[in-house]
């Protein structure tokens, strides 16, 4: 089987990267870098093992390197371009925006764990493998992520605003 197998994972990678980076362009750049890396390293993938996990592990490494390069700012865009479909009730759109802003305010390592466990539905052990950290680290990051998100959702003013946000309600 060739590297074309990755084609089927592109939609999922884009969705994950979008939530991870909070920005459509950055997300697709990250996915593109991930696919390029996958093509180069294809011989290292063990056929039969979970391809999605392998791709997410590659993406994680690229993402961490980017954060290192931009140390002073995690550069997480605050989803200023988050789409608000016209058919969506305003209250739901506002709620969604609050959640995305709170997610954006999480430190990247916590955001990664939260997304892998909740959205991608990986087990704690699988998430640990993707991120190359012990399971205990996954658990403590998950706990901090959820508690932080809870505080942010209760009091959004706590979120550090790195980017001017569009007010959607008030």
């Amino acid at each position: 089987m060739g590297v074309e197998q990755t084609l089927g994972h592109i939609p999922a990678l884009r969705r994950y990267a979008r939530l991870l980076t909070g920005d459509a362009t950055r997300a697709d750049d990250l996915v593109q870098d991930t696919l390029e890396r996958a093509c180069v390293k294809w011989s290292l993938w063990k056929p039969g093992s979970a391809l999605r996990s392998w791709l997410l592990a590659l993406m994680h490494n690229l993402y961490v390197n980017q954060l290192r390069d931009w140390r002073h700012d995690d550069n997480h865009a605050a989803l200023e371009d988050a789409p608000e479909p016209a058919h969506e009730p305003l209250s739901l759109a506002a709620e969604r925006m609050e959640l995305l802003q709170a997610l954006a305010a999480l430190p990247p390592p916590m955001r990664e764990v939260l997304l892998l466990v909740t959205v991608e539905e990986y087990t704690y052990a699988e998430a640990a493998k993707i991120l190359d950290v012990p399971v205990g680290t996954v658990m403590s990051r998950l706990h901090r992520a959820r508690e932080r998100l809870r505080e942010l959702m209760i009091d959004p003013a706590q979120a550090p605003r790195t980017v001017p946000l569009q007010l959607v309600k008030r």
Partner: protein, 265 residues
């Protein structure tokens, strides 16, 4: 009922929320939550976060994948391992369904004869089926060059395939040309033209131009089915053509006969 409850770890509360708790522990966690309102409130909020995040992820409008993403992969496949990769990927696509439904040979009378082994079909047909599967679902980037620039499209693809190409019209059948794209093939580039009718049904015509002595020997009109997709193919002189769509065999055959007639003209 009244025995003191052992304190519950945060890890177990998270596992409860994430559905990763050992089944044998669920009752203990429920009992703990009933007795500890603060933890119950936290767990309920974690659960709500989880549901909201999943909802946001599910309903996120991502739009079509930029072609650059698929191109990265297809370019790599078109490199040193082009031959093996395309064959394997095409085989993978076909294995999904062809193994179950089989294919049919179409004799001169146009009726099905014996199903051929998919592996027996020329490699350009497998390339065509894969290319159809990859690009037909694309909404905004289905083609590289749009039909609005048809002269340029034909000139460009003719130059890259090394011979003058003709683009048949399917307007009589209600299909308009959307455009085309250049694809890697076994040892040579290929062209794919895409058509669409008012119901959004898409038909692709895949064109291979073979070098001297490289054309597959078979020349008859044949078909192969890959799940809902039907493909008709034929080889004439140095050209191999494959017409694919999610249509019934008789419907696609009518289109294929017209395409054949126009190209032979």
């Amino acid at each position: 009922m009244n025995e003191p409850l052992e304190p519950m770890s945060d890890d177990e509360l998270h596992a409860f929320v994430d559905g990763q708790l050992d089944a044998g522990r669920v009752q203990s966690v429920l009992a703990w939550l009933q007795a500890n309102a603060d933890d119950a409130a936290r767990v309920v909020q974690w659960q709500a976060q989880r549901l909201q995040l999943r909802q946001v992820a599910r309903t996120m409008e991502l739009g079509d994948s930029p072609p650059a993403l698929t191109d990265v992969v297809l370019r790599a496949a078109g490199g040193a391992r082009r031959r093996a990769a395309w064959q394997q990927a095409a085989a993978a696509v076909l294995l999904l369904a062809v193994g179950v439904t089989g294919g049919r040979w179409w004799g001169q009378g146009g009726s099905p004869v014996a199903p051929p082994a998919m592996a027996a079909s020329p490699s350009f047909v497998r390339e065509a089926v894969l290319a159809h599967a990859v690009f037909v679902p694309e909404k905004r980037h289905a083609v590289e060059v749009a039909a609005s620039d048809e002269a340029h499209l034909v000139q460009w693809l003719s130059r890259r395939l090394g011979t003058a190409l003709k683009v048949p019209s399917l307007a009589d059948h209600g299909y308009r040309l959307l455009g085309g794209r250049l694809l890697p093939g076994e040892g040579a580039p290929r062209a794919q033209f895409m058509y669409e009718n008012e119901q959004g049904v898409r038909v692709t015509l895949f064109v291979a131009v073979f070098g001297p002595g490289q054309a597959p020997a078979q020349t008859s009109f044949r078909s192969v089915r890959d799940g809902a997709r039907e493909s008709f193919y034929w080889v004439e002189d140095r050209f191999g053509y494959a017409l694919s769509a999610e249509l019934s065999a008789p419907d696609l055959q009518a289109l294929a006969r017209d395409v054949y007639a126009q190209l032979a003209r």
